[in-house]
């Protein structure tokens, strides 16, 4: 008999065994897709060969709804529901875009309160991000500890506007309510309360040996790829790009406040790995506390509503306003046709864009790594699907 098979070069894994690839559906009902996302995985054993995301399970026609509104203010509650764990951030972005379009100047007190709220919301949002990331990695306890602290933030929000999740607090040209008496002191007390808890979190989760071994060098997103995919927020900064819209495309009163942009440094692994993205969020919480404390100290007295005509009629024009939401660059492209209602509103959600890079960075990873990668992108499906 003649030997017919060719000797194949041994790979680094030391095997030439060909196994059949299998297609597994991760989602739409799956504990770690953070909502109704479906990832079609092509796997070779535990190794992920390809990831095909299927979106749209939570598509709620935000853009179509926005076109049906009779004025710009009515869009705000819809905006709340996009990224439902950082509603203040969404509202901030929308009002920045709308005020740019309508050419409205808001009083300084409004700007400060907005910054305080947005930063509190950033902390709350990062707490969810880090907590659920802990669950993805298998640590359940940090999640509940973080949620306990988040409750305090929601309490603060509730006192201001009556709602705990979907606020409708930022209005075009102002705010729905002024701060209630005694709120500033409570916010200050909260800042003091939270600081030691972040240190505790680092000990419990961030610098845990197992956590590091699960996240360091996993899902490395190189700088150039991150920029080319227009990633933003902690995803981009985790890859070592020093870019934050609050500093680099300033809006509101961030330029009057002293704070630092946190960048991933590859402290325990490669720059741009999952651990870096997570540590950026942890540091951003600390920076947000700094911003809040300064803003509370500088908070001027005054009105919380700009003097506006009863019905705002913009000229036919268009504006793109963007802010640094907790997940990254949240932009609204608003077109007006000269009537009171918006002609077209396009939302550019950071989750949508950040999710598109997941396929790129998770090929060749293991299924457990894919969960770690997806968790570190911190997507909210309400914003991906809108």
């Amino acid at each position: 008999m003649i030997e017919t098979h060719h000797s194949q070069p041994a790979t680094s894994r030391g095997t030439t065994l060909r196994t059949e690839e299998m297609i597994v559906n991760m989602g739409p009902q799956h504990p770690s897709t953070h909502g109704v996302l479906r990832l079609e995985l092509v796997v070779d054993g535990e190794i992920v060969v390809d990831v095909i995301p299927h979106l749209g399970y939570l598509h709620r026609c935000f853009e179509k709804h926005a076109e049906q509104m009779s004025n710009y203010q009515q869009v705000v509650p819809y905006v709340d529901r996009m990224d439902y764990v950082s509603s203040m951030g969404n509202e901030f972005s929308y009002v920045v875009a709308a005020e740019k379009l309508l050419k409205i100047q808001v009083p300084e007190r409004v700007e400060y309160i907005r910054v305080i709220m947005a930063e509190l919301q950033r902390i709350a949002s990062h707490q969810i991000a880090i907590g659920t990331y802990g669950i993805d990695i298998g640590a359940f306890t940090p999640f509940l500890l973080l949620f306990k602290d988040r409750e305090r933030i929601l309490d603060l929000f509730e006192e201001v506007c009556g709602a705990r999740l979907l606020y409708n607090y930022f209005w075009i040209g102002g705010l729905s309510h002024d701060l209630p008496p005694g709120w500033v002191e409570k916010a200050k007390a909260f800042c003091e309360y939270l600081k030691p808890n972040i240190v505790e979190l680092n000990g419990l989760l961030t610098y845990n040996k197992i956590f590091i071994s699960r996240t360091a060098n996993v899902g490395v997103l190189p700088k150039q790829v991150a920029i080319n995919y227009a990633c933003s927020g902690p995803m981009l900064r985790g890859s070592g790009v020093d870019w934050d819209l609050r500093r680099d495309d300033p809006y509101s009163v961030y330029h009057k406040i002293d704070w630092d942009v946190c960048v991933g440094r590859g402290e325990v692994g490669t720059v741009g790995d999952c651990w870096d993205r997570n540590i950026v969020r942890v540091h951003e919480m600390e920076q947000s506390l700094r911003i809040i404390e300064q803003a509370l100290a500088q908070l001027p007295e005054g009105d919380v509503k700009a003097a506006l005509p009863k019905r705002i009629m913009p000229v036919a024009s268009e504006a793109y306003g963007r802010t640094e939401a907790p997940r990254g660059e949240l932009g609204f492209y608003i077109i007006s046709d000269g009537t009171g209602s918006p002609y077209r509103i396009k939302a550019r959600g950071p989750s949508f864009v950040n999710l598109s890079v997941v396929t790129e960075i998770s090929r060749g990873a293991m299924i457990a790594d894919l969960v770690a990668i997806l968790g570190s992108t911190d997507i909210v499906l309400g914003e991906v699907d809108r």
């Binding site: 597994v24 504990p31 802990g134 990695i137 298998g138 306890t141 509940l144 071994s213 293991m366 969960v371």
Partner: protein, 348 residues
């Protein structure tokens, strides 16, 4: 105990049945207690209270949970392999429960004082893997299959360092009978094998570090064998939904849980027998006697169960390859070295 039962019922099959059923009573009570205390411990670790409404501090909650599970609809997926699907939870439970046969609960009671007790335990606990594989395969769900295969590879790899640790103990005691091993360590806390056993001082000092390492190795392996964090990859809910028991509902699911908790006690009990003096009192003859023995055995076992729960709610989960790394590249070499060291020390 068996004499006592014989004196009441005579030497009949009933006596033997009662003897065999006693651990079942223990398992059920223990499962309820552990279920409750795990939830309470977890809650207090997480700065919350857990059950507070069903009875005093929620003590009735495990019963409510059981009642709920009993009433639940028993779903068998259409595409499942029915026979295997139904059998799997029972196989898992039988594998676990069979181990109770040789556990020496007290100086007066051990289901069977087998001379090959340890060997028997290691053998029957492998039946659990068969049940898990059956469950994963029969569910006809890819995630379940992932869980089952992970579980099989995990348990098989961790049996090796665990068996090596057991082997070292057998080398010292010269018996595989669990009752004999316990008696070997009688006489107080200083005679426990983790502290070198009742050997001459020179031997003891040399054995002490080796035994501590072996106890650690065994304990880590035991955590892996019962699929609990940080080794819970077969049912890693964030990756595999719920692993091999994803498709199970109602009582079948409850039996999986019962088996898991029972297994948790079995591995802790083995650790107690091997390293912590079994049922013998830590104070020598003080507080000893059949009832005290039962207390000490259960107490020590529960203490190890508590450590397990504590770790579970503190640590994240390892990845599959890291898990294998820990077993093959860390635990196995260490265990081998320890076995050789124990042998050398015993020969000297």
């Amino acid at each position: 105990m068996d004499q006592f039962l014989q004196s009441i019922f005579g030497d009949s099959i009933l006596t033997q049945l009662l003897l065999g059923v006693l651990p079942l009573v223990f398992v059920l009570v223990y499962a309820l207690v552990t279920l409750y205390s795990e939830m309470k411990i977890a809650a207090h670790i997480q700065d919350r209270l857990a059950y507070m409404r069903t009875g005093w501090h929620g003590v009735l909650q495990p019963f409510a949970d059981m009642l709920k599970l009993l009433q639940k609809e028993d779903i068998i997926p259409t595409a499942a392999d029915k026979l295997l699907f139904i059998l799997a939870p029972y196989v898992v439970f039988i594998g676990t429960y069979a181990a109770f046969a040789v556990l020496p609960f007290s100086s007066a009671y051990a289901g069977s004082s087998l001379d090959l007790g340890l060997f028997y335990i290691i053998a029957v606990s492998a039946v659990v893997v068969v049940g898990i594989l059956m469950a994963g395969w029969a569910s006809n769900n890819k995630w379940s299959l992932f869980g089952a295969i992970r579980s099989a590879s995990q348990i098989i790899s961790y049996e090796i360092p665990a068996a090596l640790a057991v082997l070292a103990v057998v080398m010292i005691t010269g018996t595989m009978n669990m009752n004999e091993i316990t008696k070997f360590q009688a006489g107080g806390i200083q005679n426990w094998l983790i502290f070198g056993g009742p050997l001459p001082l020179g031997h003891k000092l040399f054995l002490l570090p080796v035994m501590i390492v072996l106890a650690l190795i065994y304990y880590v392996c035991s955590m892996a064998e019962v699929n609990r964090t940080p080794f819970d990859i077969p049912e890693a809910e964030s990756e595999l939904v719920q692993g091999y028991n994803t498709e199970y509902t109602g009582m079948k699911f409850a039996i999986f849980y019962l088996a898991e908790y029972a297994n948790l006690f079995v591995v802790s009990a083995i650790a107690v027998v091997l390293f912590f003096g079994g049922w013998s009192s830590p104070f020598g003859s003080f507080m000893s006697g059949p009832i005290w023995d039962l207390f000490w055995f259960t107490f020590k076992g529960m203490l190890l169960v508590f450590v397990n729960v504590w770790l579970r709610w503190t640590l994240p989960r390892l990845r599959v390859d890291q898990l294998m790394y820990v077993s093959w590249k860390v635990l196995v070499p260490f265990a081998l070295v320890c076995v050789v060291l124990v042998g050398a020390i015993m020969v000297l």
